[in-house]
């Protein structure tokens, strides 16, 4: 590591004297990698330093495109839950065993995802998977079947930066989502409005862009979209589908759920809604109207997510100082970012999921279908204490100290970069690298990105 660091300093020197207008600075590289993934280690930063902004953004989305997506442990390949009748017939001991197994599976699933986020060479995808988990928010609290959540997590990952159209069609067939929003109980002549409403309010159009009649007709279109309880796979029960003519957002016909999705995608508002949400994911200042119009015209053509994201990241807004260090890190970003930044491995991945839970973000358990309230809402007197306690704990042990010990004076750039987080740089930076790092982590600015 030491050797490569020397090269960095030279590299920055070179780029700053010859190529200043084009190359990314250390701070900008960190900004790009943190916002699109997690706080980067110096090793991750290196390959980007010689690139222009446009090249760097391009790299982010193309470099690992051939990578095989992470596979799930075999235990999640089949769904797991006895039919409810059998559950009722179980003895107390059997129920206890079943609940214990379910708890273990939940922890295994959380640890599995945490581990992916810690070790992935494709942080953009994991960051977006987390974004979509919060968009199509589904909670194990109700679903109670880790296997179904595992399948959903893979679906989110598969489409995370793909095509939103395909994504949405896949999501209305996702068993965990169908179960979470009661659509398995939405039957011909016995409609249940839950999915239809949230689909429009939270997943596509936003509140105020549909009527109560659209909700009712949408529910009819979605009737029969269910899943096989034993196998946990999607099924369209045609006999439970309402085969009447429905009027949704001005379109009249005998629509099914997929037709309903197509109608939603015909609304420019859907493109606008998704763009606004993605913008806020990366950028603190609101999207200017002209930019929104321009981005909407592009995204609405084919709903391709990657070109949209590249476009957002290329906006001057993304790089503006008002949008660097002005966004609260989510608990997952804070915790995963810390370990990645210092190249550290936790003893147990599941511990990290407990840490984020205390900070208000328990993976696979968003508080409701609207997801976690983000931005400044991450911080209250309980969650701030949990965050500071996390920092206290990780700076108490020897692990971080030992990692810092290997740095030496050639790591000046790196230390400067770390210190640039601080509120009071003059107090934070000392001759002792370890003390400097500790001061920086304890600083409230470390909570920001």
């Amino acid at each position: 590591m030491f050797k490569t660091l020397v090269t960095f300093s030279l590299l920055t020197l070179l780029t700053s004297s010859f190529n200043n207008a084009y190359a990314l600075s250390l701070v900008n590289t960190r900004h790009l990698l943190t916002k699109t993934g997690f706080a980067p280690s110096f090793d991750e930063i290196e390959p980007f330093l010689a690139l222009t902004k446009a090249e760097a953004i391009d790299q982010l989305f193309t470099r690992q495109i051939s990578q095989i997506p992470p596979t799930l442990p075999a235990i999640f390949s089949a769904s797991y839950r006895p039919p409810s009748l059998a559950f009722k017939l179980m003895t107390q001991d059997q129920k206890k065993t079943y609940r214990k197994e379910r708890r273990q599976q939940t922890q295994l699933l959380q640890a599995w995802w945490i581990d992916k986020m810690l070790t992935t060479s494709n942080p953009v995808t994991e960051n977006l998977t987390l974004f979509w988990h919060n968009h199509f928010a589904t909670s194990l609290q109700k679903v109670k079947r880790p296997a179904l959540m595992a399948v959903q997590n893979q679906t989110l990952r598969k489409h995370a930066k793909g095509n939103f159209k395909t994504f949405l069609h896949a999501m209305i067939k996702d068993p965990a989502l169908l179960f979470y929003l009661d659509n398995n109980r939405n039957r011909n002549n016995k409609p249940n409005e839950n999915l239809a409403r949230e689909l429009m309010e939270l997943f596509t159009l936003g509140e105020g862009h549909y009527t109560e009649a659209d909700v009712k007709n949408g529910a009819l279109a979605l009737s029969g979209y269910s899943f096989k309880h034993k196998r946990g796979t999607f099924v369209f029960n045609t006999r439970q589908h309402n085969n009447t003519v429905k009027n949704i957002l001005g379109y009249t016909g005998n629509w099914n759920g997929d037709d309903f999705i197509d109608i939603l995608l015909k609304q420019k508002q859907t493109a606008r809604f998704i763009i606004r949400k993605l913008w806020a994911h990366y950028i603190t200042t609101p999207i200017p109207l002209a930019t929104l119009t321009r981005l909407t015209d592009g995204f609405y053509q084919n709903y391709e997510i990657t070109p949209l994201l590249q476009n957002i990241l290329q906006q001057p807004d993304f790089w503006h100082k008002d949008n660097q260090g002005t966004q609260l890190k989510s608990p997952v970003q804070l915790v995963i970012g810390f370990y990645r930044q210092f190249n550290l491995k936790p003893n147990k991945a599941v511990q990290l999921s407990k840490s984020t839970q205390k900070m208000g973000q328990r993976l696979f358990y968003p508080p409701n279908v609207k997801g976690w309230p983000t931005g400044n809402n991450w911080i209250n007197s309980t969650t701030l204490l949990a965050r500071q306690n996390f920092i206290t704990q990780v700076t108490r042990g020897m692990k971080l100290k030992n990692a810092i010990r290997h740095y030496d004076k050639n790591t000046a750039d790196w230390i400067d970069l770390i210190v640039s987080h601080s509120l009071h740089k003059e107090n934070t930076k000392t001759n002792d690298h370890w003390q400097t790092v500790k001061n920086t982590l304890g600083d409230l600015n470390y909570q920001l990105q």
Partner: protein, 366 residues
Amino acid sequence: MNRRDFIKYCGTLGLTLSLPERLFAQNEIGSKKTIILIELQGGNDGLNTVIPYTDPLYYALRPTIGLKNSEIIKLNNHLALHGALEPLMPLWEQHQLNIMLGLGYEKPNLSHFRSIEIWNTNATSDQYLEHGWLSAYLEAFQKESPLSIANGLVLGGGQGPLLGVPKTLQIKNITRFLSHSKSLSELPKNTTTNSALLQLIKTHNTIQNAALTIKTHLKPLQAPKPFENHPFSKQFALATQIIQSDLNIPVIKLNLSSFDTHINQRPQHARLLKVLAQTINSAQQALKATGHWQNTVIMTYSEFGRRAKENGSKGTDHGTAAPHFIMGGHILDGFSGSQPPLSDLTHNNLKFTTHFSKLYQKAIAL
């Protein structure tokens, strides 16, 4: 706040009332009024909470989830309580429970998130406000008691009606709160335009300001009847303990969730109402034992009621008007407002008869 300010403030809320003198007391010591807010998150089914049991339309609209005579407690000739609310009956009999009927607002919104925002900010259906309905009341409190440790305390759910109120504490686990707060360092004086950083600094200061006082003044909980083991009961137990310790926090918010009963409503709704009633009963006994009940006001609220007509899954979809409870040591009437008739529905939804802000006015005025 002086009397004139207070009158002006009451005007903005549409209040006419005789002014409670204790609001103006300068003394920081001793027990003062506490409002406890209970958010019934998900949209509580009002029609199965207070049941128009003599109306045949009720049973026609709710063939499977309609509550039978054996499952209700009759309060008068046409209204009854869900049987699971039995632990509230002592309050009812002592005239310390008021049921406000048909609460809602014009042009109801059936989204959980938008509707609770309307309730939280006391907005109209097409108005977007940034501050919780209590912020004016608490601004007044803050002026009167600048040294108070907090203007509001959230023990469950989001900030809700305390949105935008400075010095709002949010505590999940009091032991952890007190032990972790020790590790907070002194913060350098700072001014910033960075709103995220400001949020961190303010919260940091709120914790430091409150933690030491809570630590030195918190007394053990005194409860003649133990609280249940439910998360909501734990919130209420802590609220009780804090009131008993005379920490002078004017508003405490609690949350009981899972009222979004789209499927198989019966057992779930009964469980929730039972926890609600038992917990209130325990808290009332505890607060009475230490002489704090007189100064306590408890009110429930929810984003909406549920559809009058049941859905196809033995549950109910999102609806509109619903009744709410207001309780306290002061004598209250039995019912206020009127029950929305089942014969006059809009898309199977009730029409509200009383604006929800009447509930807020009552909680403040008591």
